[in-house]
Symmetry: C2
Subunit: 155 residues, 2 copies
DNA sequence: TCTATAAATATCGGATTACGATATAATTAT
DNA sequence: ATAATTATATCGTAATCCGATATTTATAGA
């Protein structure tokens, strides 16, 4: 046997609980979006746009990073949003390759209403999400502590 | 104007940051799953199965709830997992309508490897996720406090 | 300057997935 | 025994994401 046991125990219930809480939040988000007549991903882009850190330019590439999508998927998403007049495209003057995306007034209105729901919902789901996350982090910390001594049991 | 201002301010950056961190975690998860040769959703079901609270029976319906999917989507997901011999179906003796889903040895191995990656990754991403969540919850709390006095500014 | 390479955005075809509508089988209620 | 309910399954459809590829603009090198 390997006495240098590098393998931490795995808290499956904690990992599963985190996924469950994340899914509940995303599910809620999907339903709010659809109730307001847009697709869930469209809301995400509107939010990413409005909530972009102040030192970033709202280009396609930047938005792709924020949404963790491939750039071409992001282009398609922007196409659909532009069709619905929720965002607009503008070429960047300093670099004509780049496209700057901006919210229209209509887009801003829709975003505001949805974001309000989300923020309110997080008052409910947030603590459960927090709890699930803390349980995992605590478990990891425990594992590290046990590591500095020795460890054999597979709880 | 409405002096009874019920509308809390919205912290778009905090909401966007939370989504960004969630997406980073999920993206990581997708990549781990694909690297191990299964689809991301398949990992989620395996985890939900292994991490199901001890007082729940692993039926299709229960798994659908945990994954926040429609039951028919869950059936299809289980079909694909069963084709790959990662889970098995068994009829419940006490109620023949119900299907009990169990992990195969192979499924368990794949799950274990992936869960380990996830737990380790959460040591990195977790704190950022936590931070994003706490910022929103703190903002909500602030809004409630201001409510008991009065509020006019729209930060 | 001319050319090669890189970077940003866009388009198209293919594959996966989730859902709505509907079907089938087992259980429970009247 | 029949009706209503519950659990699972199937099928067609729509949305989305991605890989491969194209186009335009910017930058580096000879």
């Amino acid at each position: 046997m390997n006495s240098n046991n590098e393998q931490p125990t795995i808290d499956y219930q904690a990992l599963a609980e985190l996924r469950y809480q994340i899914r509940r939040f995303l599910r809620f988000s999907e339903q709010v979006a659809r109730a307001e007549g847009i697709e869930p991903q469209q809301y995400q882009l509107l939010l990413a746009l409005k909530g972009l850190p102040t030192d970033r330019k709202p280009t396609v590439r930047e938005l792709a990073e924020r949404l963790q999508l491939q750039h071409n998927s992001t282009v398609e998403l922007i196409n659909r949003l532009a069709e619905h007049k929720l965002v607009e495209r503008h070429r960047d003057d300093s670099d004509q390759r780049q496209v700057i995306v901006t919210l229209t007034t209509h887009g801003e209105e829709i975003l505001q209403r949805q974001a309000r729901y989300h923020q309110a919902e997080l008052a409910t789901i947030g603590p459960m999400l927090l709890q699930a996350l803390e349980t995992i982090l605590a478990h990891n910390q425990d594992a590290l502590n046990r590591d500095s001594r020795s460890q054999e049991d597979k709880g």
